[in-house]
Structure formats: C-alpha cells, structure tokens
Symmetry: C5
Subunit: 253 residues, 5 copies
C-alpha cells in the first residue's frame, strides 16, 4: 500500500461511477476520462481508480493505478451482486499497483463476493498487488448503512478477509469512525467520498473528522470532479489529508 | 477495430436474428445465409455478423467477420440471459476479426454477463480479436430502453468494461445520441438498426442523426435484408455512412 | 454426417426412451437393448441412438452410433433441463460417430443448454464426431410445440448454434416442414418419430411428407420397436426414406 | 463388480445412515463403526458401504469397500440434493473397489446429480472402480416410491446412465421386481434393505422375493445391525442370498 | 491433531467473531488481534483460530494456528451459507496446522458446504493439515440447535465427512453430550464456547460436563476475551481442561 501513500496518508481519485451510476454523474468535462486522468496528475493524487476499460484506454502511468475488478450497474434491483470483470493478471499488465473489489456485506449474494474476494486477494498478493476492499453493507437487513455499528462491521470485515485497505462510508462523526478504524486494526481505512456535499467546507469537515479518527485517507470522486473548480478542491484536500492541515487552512490556500 | 472501418466509418451487416427472433424475420430469399453472405460482399459491408453455426457453414472470407459468441431465443420469458455459445478460440479459427457479445444491463442476470464479457474481452485481445459489446438495457426496471439517459448509460458501460466498440439503440434524436457517443469516450459507437422502419428515408434519417452525433457507423440487418431491394439499400447506406453524404444524396444515386 | 447417410438419406433408430420416459414405453421384447441393437443391424439402420450406459453394455459396432450425451427423466416437473451425462471423449472411446444433445428452447434453463451444446459441439468436432441437436421448444411460453413457426424456429436454432443435424417434430404438413427445412439451411433435418401413430400407413404418410419437404431422414423409435412387426416396419421405412418410394410401395413389399 | 460377488450373488452391508439419518438409527453398540466393520468380516459380507470419514478411520481391508461419495442429512427439507463429498481418486486411495452415488430422480435438482454421476462413473472406470447408483425417486411428483413403475424406472435409469449396479427399493412383490430387473438389463440389481422390518421372517421373505425376481443381491443395514442378533441375521441372509436357500432353511440354521 | 493437544486434551482460543458477529462482540482491548494473539501465548492455549486477514497481519507463530477458511456475516438473513474465503494452500503458507470450516447442516445450502468441505478436507490432508469442522445445524427445520439428538447428529456428520475434529454446541448436560461424543467415534470433539455465560463458574461447569462426557476440549472465545480478567479465565480453563481438575480447583488457583 505504500505506493499510494505520502507521509502515511493517501488521497485517491475515484472514477468508476460510469459503471455504477451511469453518465448522469457527469458533465461535458468530467465525462471524459482524459480530463480525470489529467486531474489525477495535476492534483497530485496518490492513486486513481478506474475500471478496466477506462484504464486500458486512458491510464497514463503518472499516478499509481487501482484497478476496480468488479462492478455492476444501478439498473438492477434486488439484492446487490457484483462479480469479477477484470482478471488480476490483466490488472497487473495494465500497470495497476492494486485491485479494488466491492463486497456488498448483508446481500443475499454475500457469500459469492466473500469467496471471490478471497481468491482475488491471494492472486493479487502473488503478483505483488495490494487488495483494496470497498465494503458496503446492503440488502434487506440493512436499514442504515452509515449507522456506527454497521460502518465498524464493514471495517472489520476488511480485516478478517485479508484486505490491505478498506473503503467505507463516514458515519457522521469522529467518535464513531474511531471505532471503525480501531476495528480495522492494521488495515488502512479510506473514507468513501460519497455524493457531492452541500458545500466544500461541509465535505472537508467530514474528511477532517475521518482523519482525526485515524483514517489513512480519502477516496474521492464526485466531490472533486463535480466541483466547480476540481483542481482547487484537489489542492484543498491534499492540504487537509497529506499535510494534515485544518479545514480552514486547507480552504484558504 | 480498423479492419471494420473505411475512412473511420463502418457499416456492418447483422444476421444473428435467426437465433434471437427465429425465421419469422425471414422471407424465402433472406432465410438463406448464402444470400446474406453474398449481400455482404456485393454491398461492400465493412463486416458481417454471424453466430457460430452460420459462420462455419456460410462464411466466405471476403468480408471481415464478427462472430456473435452469445445469444438466446425470444421464446424465454423473464429476466434476459444469454451465455457464451462459441469459444473465442473457435471464433478465431473460423476467421473472425472480432467477437460480439450481448450484455443485458439491468437484467437480474447482469452480473453473469458482465463477468463473462470480462473474460471474453481478455481472451479476444489475447488472440488479436476486437471485442464488441451489444449493450441492451432490459429487465424489470427498464421502462424505456431508448430513453436518452438509458442509451448513454449503455454506451458508457461499454467503455467501462473494455469493449472496443458498442452497438446501442438510437434514442430518436441527434442531441441525445451525442451525449451517448461522448459517454462512450474512445469506444466506437455503432447504431443498432432495429426493426424495419416505415420507409427507407425514415431509416436513413435516423442513421444520419447518429452519424452527426459522432457514431462510427451502423450495424444493420432487417432494414437491409428485409428491404424490397437490399443491394440498393446497402448502397444508399454506404453513401451515407462511409461517404458521409446527406440522406437525399444517399437515396438519389 | 455422411457416415449416417445412404443416398443422402438417413434412417436412425432411437432408443433413449428408457431414460426419458422409463420402461412404460417397453414390452418384454424391446425392454432388452440387445433386441434393439439386433433390430438396428437387421433393419439396416443408418445409425442407432443410445445413452452411455446402453452403449457401453450393448453396442456392437455394426451400425454407426449416435451417443446421446444429455438427458432427464419425465419425473421432474417445471421448466425442463437436461445436463451433460457423458463426456465427448467417452463417447468417442465407445465408438460413437456423433453425439446427440437435447436443447429445450424456451425453457427458463435454455441458456445453460445453449452454452453446454456450444462447448460440446466444439469438442465433438475436435474429435471428428458430428454434433446432432434435438431441438424441442418447451416451457411456460410454448403453447404448441408443433406449430409451424415453432418447428421452423427449432430448425433454425440448430443452424445458428452449429449443429450438423437437427431432430425436430413434424408440424403436420409438408408445406410447414418445407419452411423448417429451409430455415435449417445446410443443416440436415431429421423428423422425430414421436409416439406410436394410429396406423403404420398414418406414420409413413407423415414421414413421406417430411421427405417431400426436404428432410434428410427420420429418427424413429417407438413407431418401429413398438410395432407388432418391428423388422417389417423397419424395411418399409427404409424403402420410403432411403429408396424414396411412395407410402404404398413402401407398405407393399 | 465381480469382487463383490460370490456365485454371482452379493450381500452388502450398508452403514452410511450416520449421515443420512443421524445417530437416531444407532444404539450403543452399532453407533461404533468398529462394531460394524467387524460384523462385515464375521458375517462374510461381500462388501461394506461407508462414507469417506468412516472408511478413513475404520476400514480394515478384509472386506471389499464401496465408498459412498455423495450424501446429505435428513435435516434439509425441499427437493433433495446430494453432491459429491469424496473424490474418486481419494476413494481409490482408501482402497475402495467401487464408488456409490445417490441419484434422487424426480427431484428439481435431478439434472445436477445425473451430471455428477456421469462424470464420477467415467472417473471410476478410469481407475478400475465400479460405479454403483442408489436410485431413489423423490420430489414433488413422486407419490409412491415403491410403485412398480417407479421402481422399474429407477432400475432403468441405472442402465441408461452407465451404472454397474443399482440399489433400488423392493416394490412388495416378485412380479413387479422382475420387471425392474428386466428393465435394468445387464446392470446388477441390489435390493435396498430399508427400515427394520416387523420380523426377521418378514424381511427374509422380501429378500427371497427379490432374488426370485432376478436380483443379484441385497444391500442391507438396519435389518442387520439393528437386529437383536446381528451376526445370526447376517448368517441367515448369507444362506438366503449366496447359498440360495429358502426363507425357512435360512432361518433354521 | 496432536499438535493441538496436551495430555490428549486441547484448549483452543477462537477469534473469528469479527467476521461472524462484527465488532459489537469487542471492547477497546479485545478488538485488537494483537491482544488476543498475546492472550493465546500467555494463556498457553493449544491453538488459536483466526480468519485469513487476522492471521496474515497478527499471527506470531508461538501457538499452533487453525485457519478458519470460510465464514459469513450476521447481516445476511435466510438459509445460512458460508463459502471458502481462504485457500488451503494459503493457509499452509501462513503457517496453519489445521483448517476450520463451518457446515450449516440443515440449511437449504447444506449440499454446497458438504461438497466444499469434502474437497478442502482432501486438500488439507494432502498438505498435512488437519481439517476441523464447525457443525452448526441451522435453517428452517431446526427448532432447537442444542437438542440432544441435533448435537449428536452434528457430531456424527463430522465423522461421516472425514473431519479430524468437530466443534459442536453443548446440549446442557453430560449425558446428552456423551452420546454425541460416542456418535463422533474417533473424531475429537470440541465444545463450542458460545456467548458469554452468566458467571465464570457457570461456564466452567458446562465445560466440565463436556469433558466428563469425553470431549477432547474446548474452543472458546467470548468467555475468555470478554472476561474481566481474560488471563485468569484462561488459566482456570487450562486447569480444568488440560489438568483435568474440578470446577472448584480450577477457579481457586
């Protein structure tokens, strides 16, 4: 995981929303992966997250690549299931330093994803790639996926199944996230950026809360590339996450 | 994909309807694959699309072959699922330059098809074959599969999963298709011909709209081989798609 | 397929009913596979159709063997599914010149059978065995499996998926079967004998109709070995199918 | 199969009830596999039937071993399914001369078991092991699994799918079983012992009926090891099955 | 199994609850696997039970490792299913001396787990690892999973499928557990610790009952690391289990 870190912190640019949500997330500018690849470079991100197709056609190599190896569209209803779309071998060929995999814990199909992640984690480590787990509790039994105990459970699942890092949601306050970070043990915890926040300051305050709780960093997409000034937002986040500044300092510069 | 293009445009002749719809699509002439193979040659198509059995018995080699490697009949109800029928290795032996695969995005079985396409795409590229995805949103949640946001989502799925080209439906106007083409990024977009249009001019206007939106071309079946003069229609489409003429010029010659 | 033909016609003896229907189809004589094997020889059939177990214990080599590699009992209700029971390699070892496989088109499990047939067809051709598809539309959406458009669809499926020959039901008249034969293209069409007809003449008239429509031949079981004089019936069918005689001539000799 | 026969008859001791029914079938004595292994030796059985775990820990080699390679508990409701638990290779290593496999014909999962048996039969023969099929019609459509036509169908399934021997239920009279034996052709038929009969004489009369119908022998468990004098019962059965005595002679000695 | 035993008794420390129950089982201290690893060493446990991720990051080698190779979260409702997450090969690389696998007997998915355990057991033995089965009857038909006949059935399943040891629940009294131990034959029986008991004495009395019934030992988690003095509890259990003392003696020291 060190390749993704600066001063033990990491700021990752997520751009797999094209598959997960479709182009409704995009505008004329950010619909273009080349724009996002460039943003990853200019914004000095520690990593960029692409699905296979985007990586094959747009990845430039200047920023470490996390290849998301499973995914699904939002068009399917019912208990969520995302199976492997990219082989670990292919991810390595494309130049990835890590694979990303989403586990919908609580889904009726959970066992398929736990099994698949288990196999992928072993393959990835065999090829010297890190294995990062997106752990999103979903399904009939999950009423609130940002409830503190659910977020902590998600973090812990990552530790139990052998992830090098987990990407989990922010439960809304530092105290709750602290418990999640503790539950993750030696696993690096990345806060998931989520949908565009009401204001830049609001979003930065959440991130600050996650960092104060012990998070290693942030995997952010929409809150950067949907921003009116993506590069400015990227710089602010870098000051916050990597240089460990306050929200005010981060916004000011 | 270059083997399928002339002046960066491509006109493909689709003839996999025998499996998808059955012979009700055919008349005494076009029920014969030899007729269609000959039409592909005479009409100077950039590619011809066959299932394995038709390719093995009728493909002549004069026109590049796209082998459709999955399929299903229209006799099955419920959430659509089409699994692999032809191996990539066999497609290459038959002489295909690309494999075609349908993903029913939104189907309850979507994950099986995304996974299978992912594997097939890697195998195809390993054998120097292009991988073309038919992306058809279907299933309980899809109310209108030509709605602009659905068509754009289909195009984007193709990019995310690593297709070299996508075949998608026309949403009815250029503006909407432009967004779909943009969403597809570097992936070539082929408009799907669909059922026989009310008139030749109607159909050509749709195709013109798609080209104006940035489409690479057209994959057409019924609107050619169900035409009263298939070769004439093929020539008109060629003028439109390859020579980039207007609908009026295309029809006139 | 030539090994199964005389003058481009073929008369095949089917005896896989023990699995599909159980011994209720049999009497004290024809329950014995040795009787049927002998009948295949004496009746100069162009091929005999057995499941693996019957072939391993009773096949004598004097008549080309078609090994039926999937099957199911009639005891299961619901959407039909028959998976592979005999490997292609084993079929070849037993001495088969072809494998037979039933596809229940229209079944909710259709995709499993299309996929399995696709794999088996490639294996079979790799070992120089022909691949014959029994195509039986079944399932919730099939109201009448001898409707002309359903029979023609069945024939076409065989062509699309790469069968060397198809076994399909007779739709009741020559004109309808002609369209099915045309839909099958270069694929040899065998009429499926079906349950015991009311009289020998009735059955022969159906077969004559199929031949006049362009069928390559007949795969017959119960109408021969449930006959009061199986060998006589076999001879009559041979005159009809191979020597291309009229029903009256065939019955007379 | 010859290794399991004496004078073309076979008496097999079944002891896989621990998995199928649980210890409720057992008492303080027969709960111990060592007791049953010893009984197999003392009773001069032609074979003993164990699951993998029992065979690995208790099989002594003095009596030929049939390794039951699939199984299920009685705790599961719904359509029955028993998948492979022991590989054929492992069965051979343990010293088995045959593998046993249960097919629940008529179950909604029938196709999985027919497929699995098909593969196992080929592997077993490749390692010179016999393949014995337990054929038990079960599921929604089976009203009476000892109805003569159901028992005959079970026997025939064994022949069709390539079993060397079948274990089937006794339909209650010799005449009905005769038809089942005939339906099985060259496949050896073993009567399944079933639950403890009302009296020893009652049970022996059933076995005598099966033998008179042409059965090769008997696979018996509870009627021996639940007997008040298991060894005496074993001797009586041996006189009946192997020495072909009458029920009275068998009981007398 | 000998590596896990002292004087033919074994005391195992279970710590896979992070996946099965989530961090709600933990406090600030025991949420840290390093604390539990240290406890395993200080408490002189005969083995420690971890999932792959915890083992990879925290296992120190001072105590024999049992790697739990399947698991699930408690977030999923319905018939339980836990598939393999860690390969046997990987377990061996990490240094495990045994693999652990949970079979939910009675679940609608039972057959998948029996099959998977069957394969894993063979792989484990091939690499000189023991195979330990957690056998937990669950599902629609199981009203009371500590009923004596259910516990005995669980024990017997372990024997039948080839486990070296089973972990089963305590049915509440020695007499019932004796029958379970007898049903397990040569398979070592470990009592499952279960949720925190009302008092230490209560818990020790259950364990004493299990030992008196013939149990090899105890696999305990929450009753140790949720104890106010985990090391003291560990020592008490060691006196009870390994030194075979009375509850009073065990508590006193």
């Amino acid at each position: 995981m060190n390749v993704f870190l600066t001063k033990n912190r990491g700021l990752l640019l997520a751009y797999d929303q094209g598959l997960e949500h479709g182009p409704t997330d995009f505008n004329e500018q950010n619909v273009d992966p080349a724009f996002v690849m460039n943003l990853a470079v200019q914004g000095q991100f520690n990593g960029v997250i692409f699905q296979k197709g985007v990586a094959e056609k747009y990845y430039g190599g200047q920023v470490p690549l996390i290849l998301k190896v499973n995914g699904k569209t939002k068009l399917v209803k019912g208990e969520p299931l995302a199976r492997q779309i990219c082989s670990v071998k292919r991810a390595a060929e494309i130049g990835a330093k890590a694979v990303g995999y989403t586990i919908y814990a609580g889904s009726a199909h959970e066992s398929l994803m736990l099994e698949e992640f288990g196999r992928i984690q072993e393959e990835a480590h065999g090829l010297n790639l890190a294995a990062i787990a997106w752990i999103y509790p979903r399904g009939e039994t999950i009423k609130n996926d940002t409830a503190p105990e659910i977020v902590a459970y998600a973090a812990r699942i990552g530790l139990e199944v052998g992830a090098d890092a987990v990407k989990i949601k922010y439960p809304g306050n530092t105290e709750s996230f602290k418990w999640a970070v503790k539950s993750a043990g030696k696993v690096k915890v990345f806060m998931s950026g989520g949908p565009k926040a009401a204001s830049d300051a609001d979003f930065l305050r959440q991130v600050r809360g996650a960092l104060d709780a012990g998070a290693t960093g942030l995997a952010v997409g929409r809150n950067v590339w949907q921003s009116s000034n993506p590069l400015k937002m990227a710089h602010a986040l870098r000051r916050l996450v990597i240089e460990d500044r306050s929200v005010e300092e981060a916004l000011r510069a």
